[in-house]
Symmetry: C2
Subunit: 214 residues, 2 copies
Amino acid sequence: MRDAYHEELDSLTDKLVEMTRLVRSAISRATTALLDSDLQLSESVISRDEAVNALFSDIETTIMELMARQQPVAVDLRMVITALRMGTDLERMGDLAVHVAKVARLRHPDSAIPPEMRSTIVEMGQIAENLVTKAGSCVTTRDVDSALELQQDDDAMDKLHRRLFRNILSKDWPHGVEPAIDITLIGRYYERYADHAVRVAEAVVYLVTGSRPG
Amino acid sequence: MRDAYHEELDSLTDKLVEMTRLVRSAISRATTALLDSDLQLSESVISRDEAVNALFSDIETTIMELMARQQPVAVDLRMVITALRMGTDLERMGDLAVHVAKVARLRHPDSAIPPEMRSTIVEMGQIAENLVTKAGSCVTTRDVDSALELQQDDDAMDKLHRRLFRNILSKDWPHGVEPAIDITLIGRYYERYADHAVRVAEAVVYLVTGSRPG
């Protein structure tokens, strides 16, 4: 049997995992909205972000109460500090999915993504989803080896990001300035989303080992 | 006389203020490097970021030790949690200054900024410096009214950011796609830098009042 204190610590983990689920859904919808120019789907990403923010606020409140009442030490203290850090990253990931959805909404009924670049965006969306799914799983399992793997998936994201720029900057780029700006920003949003997912996994490494991955 | 515990809490404030000073210098140098195409100045922003990261790491260590040994409560606990949040934002501001410096370095000896847009970048740099200076001052004084003022300065940054986009998207934009991409990213870096400065000030409001500004 666990006492109320440890149940509350466990509930933090559950809430963080729920946040990873929500922001995974957000980037998945945002990617689809972008590729299908689906206005309703864009709007759903934007309106659902409220739930991500509310969950983070709930986590912050739980943390402050836990620390004030229980004064956790050692690994429990690391858990609480780590939860705060993860929550901050996950909340930002929700914002970045909203940014992607807003570009889709702005260009509707047109698409912000020219046909020849769709496959790159599909891949970036897929990597973003894989990263956050893995991060969520690491939060539950606290598996350091899996957490360290996220760095490699993030390398794949960086490669795709560079490919986007090569496309835009090629001499025969036919779409002009506006789509170039959209794609520059969208690329940045996916890349930042991935970075934050990696940070969540790094926080798991810190939680378990007490030191930061190199 | 203050005891060792409160001296340590005070030292956190000093270190955060030092971080604001370092990241103010970073964005100031980065803006100048960008406008003057000064390679050495760009390099100095990039190499000096190490000091920002080291200071944040030092703050994190102090916080973990304080919490483990002293188990702060009430306003002291809020101070510690707030310091962690501020440090995270300030470290990111250092990264964003580095991003600006890297664009300057990439385009050297050319300038990433066309002549007619220089004045907008000068203003964005100036607002960024004002914001971080004010944020640093709020960290010291804990003045809630001043902290709430940062929101308005940030509105000015958002206006300039929109002006950048209007320039790039005007029909007679003569510079082609590459400068448009540079300016899109640079605009985003300044805007994010400003947002993080506002968050630092918001953390002061939370520290003093115990609730978030609306």
